[in-house]
């Protein structure tokens, strides 16, 4: 296996609500290599989103360790986590979360303005095939287009990690495939380690590796010997 970019050891997350304790993660051990495309599957409440949130620096663990390269995420404070997200992580959300008052290009520029080694917003939009829509506002774009803008925004900073939580969840099949193509393309071109959470088992075929979460643990790990291209997938 090539160079490790992420690893976690015994990652545990317990939510307390009143007297009740909810164990969202029960000691997850995980390792990801640079440039890997990983799909995470699992039912609701299996802990996959909590896991993504902790390795993405949005949430803190109750116990265990999470490492990004030589940064131990589990020891970083709020400020450190913000800096980590800013410098290394790209996020893609289920509902795109574009800023409605900014055009496609401006939404991308929003991130490139604060990034250390960004690509140009135009290049990022070209990567997702939206060059000719760059001056449109989100309200003037289709759902698929908005999600591709979100991907362009996520990768424009040249992140080491791209985290996607249900990126096709709000899209129909044809549009979803376009978005997956954009993700696969970006993964190949930029070399960002990509973690994609999905309910959609069909997507597993485009991954290097597939993890299945259940009850706060990784219960199954499959390595795809041959990846399919998104166009070959259907759901």
């Amino acid at each position: 296996m090539s160079e490790t970019i992420f690893h976690t050891k015994g990652l545990t997350k317990v939510y307390r609500s009143g007297a009740q304790e909810v164990h969202a993660l029960r000691g997850v051990d995980f390792r990801a290599a640079r440039g890997e495309f990983i799909v995470i599957l699992g039912p609701s409440g299996s802990g996959k989103s909590t896991f993504l949130n902790i390795v993405g620096g949005l949430d803190t663990a109750t116990a265990g360790e999470a490492w990004f390269e030589d940064h131990q995420l589990t020891t970083l404070d709020e400020r450190g986590l913000t800096q980590y997200r800013r410098d290394h992580v790209g996020f893609v959300f289920q509902f795109y979360n574009l800023v409605p008052s900014l055009t496609a290009r401006e939404n991308v520029a929003l991130v490139t303005e604060i990034a250390r080694h960004p690509m140009s917003p135009d290049d990022a939009l070209a990567l997702v095939g939206l060059t000719d829509r760059r001056d449109h506002f989100p309200a003037q774009l289709s759902g698929g287009e908005q999600q591709r803008v979100a991907i362009a925004r996520a990768i424009a900073k040249n992140p080491e990690v791209l985290l996607c939580d249900e990126p096709t969840g709000a899209l129909d099949s044809a549009t979803g495939i376009k978005v997956l193509e954009a993700l696969a393309e970006v993964n190949r071109r930029v070399g960002a380690t990509t973690l994609v959470i999905t309910h959609n088992a069909a997507i597993r075929e485009i991954a290097d590796r597939v993890l299945r979460f259940a009850d706060g643990r990784i219960v199954e790990e499959t390595v795809n010997a041959t990846k399919k291209s998104p166009a070959e997938v259907s759901w």
Binding site: T82, N97, L110, I114, F137
Partner: protein
């Protein structure tokens, strides 16, 4: 009792949005409080005065004469419509108090007649009235007694007509004639240096050589009688006895100052409450609009399950009515509390035997009705949207906010980053709301500008009056005109460095149908101690023959330099002449007319007479001068500039703290109310965007910066607008308050704008600070999962 679910929702909404609800309720409360305070104080003061006047038979007409035989009173009583007339002796005396070095004046007044026929009756607070046979028993005004800690039984020494008299205080009283007791030559009441004493008539007759005569007459008229015609008739009768022209009640000093106060209160009621109610209506509108947008789907659902549009409208109106009710309760409490405070303030300035604090339900009812109307008016526009929503449309999420504005030029001009673009586009996306917020903050600035300017103006007035015009240290006014050689005697007094004579002659100046009664001042050709200033503040030389009129007088008579006016002298040979108007002068207090002293004596047909002297005094010789001035028989009264100015500033300083606290409080309520609500709405609309930015790696500071940038833009844009509004309001106030009594110079220095803006910005910062916690705790995980 079963509470319907919608009503329960109202209660929960109120609890959930308590901070915004409170902010709006406070703005409404400020409107209610100022309305109650203004209307309440107005009617309290008005009714107290009316009752006082009625119960104590306050006169309608007042006239001074030099010396008139008591027999004249019979003729005066014969004038049509005169219900009662009383001949009095009213004369100035000098105080001689062992504990007081500085000069003080006592107005000696003969006691009103007994048996229900007298006028200007006294209200005895302590002790008893003097024995009519006694030559030394006296009752004194309450303020004076308090300032000197006099109680019945205390001795009191005065110099009447140059002679020392030891008197005995038997009682302490109030009089409707001296509710506002202003001493001669003073600008503010100073109960320490000016008091009123009432003595039995015979004692005063003896002291002032007025046996069988009187020096003052007061008249009570039948209701509806013509004051002007009575004055004409009275003046005809008194003219041969040195009558200097009668004055109507409206020109009587104490009454006129009360009128000015009433005028100010009614102006306050016209300006302040509407501002608050307007801003509150606006806040209700923007807050409710946002609430309805957020509850769109619930509204659709309610309609779908069969609630009528009317029930839904009623639901939101109830929410607003609850806010209004809270505002009314707070406002009424604050209004009553402030009312008591104002009444205490009045008690310091105005001497009333009682104060009727109006609890007229109409005042409260009006305040409540206006407040509810303002709140509901603000709600209606927003509620209309809820009513118009078809259920099917309402249940689907709203279309995404559509931004299409191109702002290339704007953006290049300000070199905006993307976050700046967000701020700008969001502000332009809701132009009405942005305008409302700007307007609201502007009104806070305006209230401050319109209240703070007056202090600067008053300082300017003092500075101009006492360092440029009246540059003397003391002014001695003689009891009666003296030959010019009295000037040389004055120069010989201890401590006197320089002396300058003046002549003051009562006269009526008229031009066409307009006329005014005042004192014409005669001054040396180039006066140095008591100067007349041109409107550009340059000292003016006295013309050889013409008159210099103050701008206020010229305006009142509608004359310009070069015009001729008729001057009817009310003293001496009582000549009537026409004189040219040679120039216009600046004058803030009263109406002024000046001419060269020898020219004045010449046109009057008198020899070289002077009425008094303006003096420059050596500081070390001050006390010796005070003693000498007091014991000179010629002295009518002595005004000491430093004491006048000090008293003025002292009074101002007392008021300034109260006024600034009140106005800063009011402005802060508006700024906090507007900025806080604006911030909460902006956060509610953009919370999701901002949380997304946090996920993308924006720091808390950067994210707060976006929201605060929006607030800052609104607050900053509001400043010049507020300055302008404030300027306009202040200008309106100057126009409204200008009277023959005084005119306030309209001076607004940059410090007024700066102070107003600083106060509002601090209040805005505090409100922004209050929502900082909400920005810092934006839920990043939530935004990944949910659609708005």
């Amino acid at each position: 009792m079963v509470i319907s679910p919608l009503r329960r929702k109202v209660l929960r909404d109120l609890r959930r949005l308590w901070a915004q609800v409170l902010a709006i309720a406070l703005v409404l409360a400020a409107g209610v409080a100022t309305l109650i305070l203004g209307n309440g104080a107005y009617s309290s003061l008005y009714e107290t005065r009316a009752r006082y006047y009625d119960d104590y038979r306050f006169a309608d007409i007042f006239a001074d004469v030099t010396r008139a035989p008591r027999a004249l009173l019979g003729d005066i009583r014969e004038i049509d419509n005169v219900l009662a007339a009383e001949a009095r002796i009213v004369k100035l005396a000098l105080l001689d108090m062992p504990a007081m070095v500085e000069p003080g004046t006592m107005l000696m007044v003969s006691l009103p007649e007994k048996g229900g026929r007298g006028l200007n009756l006294l209200h005895l607070r302590q002790g008893r009235l003097p024995d009519p046979q006694s030559a030394r028993e006296v009752v004194v005004s309450e303020g004076f007694a308090a300032a000197h800690r006099l109680r019945p039984g205390a001795p009191l020494t005065v110099l009447m007509n140059g002679q020392r008299r030891d008197l005995l205080v038997t009682g302490i009283t109030l009089s409707p004639e001296f509710i506002y007791a202003l001493g001669p030559g003073e600008m503010m009441p100073d109960p320490r240096r000016f008091g009123i004493a009432w003595l039995p008539r015979p004692a005063l007759e003896a002291a002032f050589d007025l046996e069988g005569a009187f020096s003052n007459v007061v008249l009570k008229l039948a209701p509806g009688a013509s004051v002007d015609r009575t004055i004409e008739a009275l003046d005809r009768l008194t003219a041969p006895y040195g009558g200097a022209g009668a004055v109507a009640r409206k020109d009587q000093i104490s009454h006129a100052f009360l009128d000015a106060e009433l005028k100010q209160l009614s102006a306050m009621v016209k300006v302040l409450p509407p501002i608050f109610l307007l801003v509150a209506a606006m806040l209700v509108n923007i807050t409710l609009s946002r609430l309805i947008t957020l509850e769109r789907e619930q509204i659709g659902l309610l309609k779908a399950i069969g609630y009528s549009s009317r029930a839904i409208a009623q639901h939101y109106v109830e929410f607003v009515l609850a806010i209004a009710a809270l505002g009314i309760v707070i406002g009424i409490s604050a209004g009553v509390w402030l009312g008591v405070g104002l009444a205490q303030l009045y008690a310091r300035f105005f001497s009333f035997p009682f104060l009727i604090f109006t609890r007229d339900p109409q005042i409260y009812g009006l305040a409540a009705a206006v407040t509810v109307a303002a709140a509901v008016a603000g709600a209606l526009l927003a509620v209309r949207v809820a009513v118009a929503l078809p259920p099917a449309v309402a249940m689907s999420p709203p279309a995404p906010a559509d931004y299409r504005a191109r702002m290339g030029a704007f953006r290049r001009l300000f070199a905006l980053r993307q976050t700046g673009v967000m701020v700008t586009r969001h502000l332009f996306r809701w132009p009405l709301r942005t305008a409302s917020g700007t307007f609201g903050v502007a009104m806070a600035v305006a209230i401050l500008v319109a209240s703070l300017w007056s202090f600067g103006s008053i300082n300017h007035m003092i500075d101009v009056t006492f360092t440029r015009a009246e540059r003397h240290d003391a002014l001695v006014a003689f009891g009666a005109p003296e030959p010019a050689r009295a000037l040389f005697a004055a120069r010989q007094m201890p401590g006197v460095l320089a002396a300058e004579p003046f002549r003051a002659v009562a006269a009526r100046i008229s031009h066409r149908a307009l006329s005014r009664k005042l004192s014409i001042m005669g001054k040396p050709e180039t006066p140095t101690l008591s100067r007349v200033l041109a409107p550009d503040l340059r000292p003016m030389a006295m013309p050889e023959a013409g008159l210099i009129l103050s701008e206020a007088l010229a305006e009142a008579l509608a004359v310009r330099p070069g015009d001729r006016v008729t001057v009817e002298f009310l003293e001496g040979a009582r000549r009537t002449v026409t004189l040219p108007v040679s120039g216009l002068s600046l004058g803030y207090v009263g109406l002024g007319a000046a001419m060269e002293i020898t020219a004045l004596n010449r046109v009057m047909g008198e020899g070289a007479l002077i009425s008094g002297v303006a003096l420059q005094i050596d500081e070390t010789g001050q006390e010796a001068f005070y003693v000498a001035a007091k014991t000179t028989p010629k002295t009518g009264f002595v005004a000491v500039t430093a004491l006048t100015v000090a008293r003025f500033k002292e009074t101002l300083a007392e008021n300034i703290t109260v006024m600034i606290t009140v106005y800063v409080g009011l402005a802060a309520i508006i700024s906090v109310g507007v900025v806080y609500n604006f911030a909460r709405i902006a956060l509610s609309e953009q919370g999701r965007e901002l949380a997304s930015l946090r996920v993308l790696g924006f720091t808390r500071g950067e994210v707060s910066g976006i929201l605060f940038g929006e607030l800052a833009t609104v607050v900053l844009a509001a400043q010049p607008v507020g300055w302008l509004f404030g300027y306009v309001i202040a200008f309106g106030m100057v126009q409204a308050f200008s009277s023959d009594l005084y005119r306030v110079p309209f001076v607004i220095g940059p410090e007024v704008y700066v102070t107003a803006s600083l106060i509002v910005c601090v209040a805005a910062l505090a409100s922004a600070w209050a929502i900082r916690g909400r920005i810092n705790n934006l839920d990043m995980v939530e935004v990944l999962k949910t659609r708005e």
